[in-house]
């Protein structure tokens, strides 16, 4: 299939790509935060994205909750489950070495995925958007109201995360842990508590991402694995532990895959994300914006 190569079409794919990037960015930010602070590759964050989508589905369809409240509920669910998972599984395992947490993370992802299959069934779901079919249109480029809302909400969350890390005391403790763990302990930072905070923030972002994307992207219990693999590739591409790297990485990967799907073939789209990851590993092992450990 050949697509037109005109300005409007290219801009439209650009808009679509940026929208896809928001979902990736939120999950990748959480992953990179957890990795930076605790050196845990938390694959279970994918399951929290999936559960966030289901929370928004059942809250709006069965619980009579409004969509925006459902997004908040999905974030809270993600935050609580991530902190629980961190406190019960990862932190106790961590003192036995990193590879154990890696295996445990995959285990938690699969357990939650299969539990979801059992509880929710394997049907694809879609949550009705509170904005209906409303859309903005400028010179032929279309942005639905829901897409605009998700872009705005993601922008706000990223800004909030940035300001929290930069200006609040718990945020500074997270950065200190990531930059120099031993000194962080010596100035009196409780690494368990700060670790749980990192998990909760990441889980909130993943759960929120699931709920934000639920009206646009149909989901079943397997979506967690798809999302987390891609987000993981983004984090490696952007630089493990780098917050700007996660955002730039998400944008690059989402745009690349949108244009690949449009101009080459949809089957190649996933290849692009992992291709970029492998190229990054060869050309710049620390990632786009990452730093080599000193």
């Amino acid at each position: 299939m050949r697509r037109a190569v005109d300005v409007v079409t290219i801009l439209q794919f650009g808009v679509n790509g940026l929208f896809v990037a928001t979902g990736y960015a939120l999950v990748a930010l959480g992953l990179t935060l957890i990795f930076g602070v605790l050196h845990v590759a938390d694959f279970a964050q994918g399951a929290l994205y999936m559960l966030g989508a289901y929370v928004s589905f059942y809250a709006t369809q069965a619980g009579g909750v409004g969509y925006f409240a459902a997004v908040a509920l999905a974030m809270a669910t993600g935050a609580v489950l991530a902190a629980l998972n961190g406190g019960v599984v990862y932190l106790p395992l961590q003192r036995h070495g990193g590879s154990l947490t890696f295996v445990a993370a995959l285990g938690v992802l699969l357990i939650l995925q299969n539990a979801a299959l059992w509880w929710f069934g394997g049907d694809f779901r879609l949550v009705p958007s509170p904005f209906g079919d409303g859309k903005f249109s400028a010179g032929g480029v279309v942005l639905t109201h829901h897409q605009a809302f998700v872009l705005g909400a993601t922008g706000c969350l990223v800004l909030l995360l940035w300001a929290g890390l930069r200006y609040t005391k718990p945020g500074k403790a997270l950065r200190a842990m990531a930059q120099q763990p031993e000194a962080a302990r010596l100035v009196g930072i409780d690494i368990q508590r700060v670790g749980l905070l990192a998990f909760a923030v990441a889980g909130g972002l993943a759960g929120g991402a699931g709920a934000l994307m639920a009206p646009v992207r149909a989901f079943d219990p397997h979506i967690g694995a798809v999302v987390i693999l891609k987000s993981f590739a983004i984090v490696i591409f952007g630089g493990m532990g780098s917050v700007p790297g996660a955002i730039v990485g998400a944008a690059v990967v989402a745009l690349a895959e949108t244009f690949t799907a449009a101009y080459l073939a949809a089957e190649f789209a996933d290849l692009v994300a992992f291709g970029l990851m492998i190229v990054a590993l060869f050309a710049r092992p620390q990632g786009l914006l990452g730093r080599l450990p000193t």
């Binding site: 950065r175 930059q179 000194a183 010596l186």
Partner: protein
């Protein structure tokens, strides 16, 4: 000296895995002193400091600070009791500004930090000029000053200093030495680990020499600088 020791290690043994890093080490630090731990690489000096600040736990023995048992307390509780540890290799937070690094040093405290910042600026004026620079962009000497300043922000009664002269130019070593004497004169007790024995014996009142995790010699700085074993092994006499 009369009164009670500020810090006391009583027959402490520490293992790293199966390696015995400290073996029945006993030492005392009295209020107002600068005490040096001397010895070659791997003698157990840094381990002794890591033990006091709660980074490692002893297999046997007691660690007491102001009569209080420290064993089992984590680093966060120990900082609150009044012990700050300036670690080997400075370990500043590289992507935080100088000022943020200092603020992190006061992590366990509440209230205004202005008086404490003024004290650090007075001790190391160059840090005031660099306060908005990232710590990772500082020279080695400035990073050492920042690491000491960060530890002081906890308002410690006892400062643990690990190898403050390591890798520094002689002029900077003099400046750091002067600062240690000055903060000691204003009431901070110091337990100092130092490979540069010349420098250590000039700053310290007393010292202990560790070999293979044991105390082999101890005495006043003057006694140690006259001791044949110390002279042969460390002073190149």
């Amino acid at each position: 000296m009369g009164g009670e020791a500020l810090l006391e290690l009583d027959r402490v043994t520490v293992f790293y895995g199966r390696v015995r890093a400290l073996q029945e080490v006993s030492l005392q630090v009295w209020p107002g002193e600068v005490v040096a731990l001397l010895g070659s690489n791997g003698a157990g000096k840094s381990t002794a400091l890591r033990l006091v600040s709660g980074l490692v736990a002893p297999a046997a023995g007691r660690v007491r600070f102001r009569e209080r048992d420290l064993v089992g307390l984590g680093p966060a509780s120990i900082v609150r009791l009044g012990i700050a540890h300036c670690p080997e290799g400075r370990k500043v937070f590289p992507e935080m500004t100088v000022r943020e690094n200092l603020e992190m040093g006061a992590y366990t405290r509440r209230g205004s930090l202005e008086a404490d910042l003024e004290r650090v600026w007075a001790l190391f004026p160059v840090l005031r000029q660099r306060q908005h620079q990232l710590a990772g962009s500082l020279s080695g000497g400035e990073q050492q000053m920042l690491a000491i300043g960060r530890a002081l922000m906890a308002r410690p009664a006892l400062l643990l200093l690990d190898e403050p002269s390591m890798g520094l130019a002689p002029a900077v070593v003099q400046e750091v030495a002067r600062a240690i004497r000055s903060l000691n004169a204003s009431g901070t007790t110091v337990l100092l680990v130092e490979q540069n024995v010349h420098v250590a014996l000039r700053i310290a009142h007393r010292g202990y020499v560790l070999e293979n995790g044991r105390v082999v010699v101890s005495g006043t700085a003057e006694e140690l600088s006259r001791d044949d074993r110390v002279r042969r092994a460390y002073l190149g006499a």
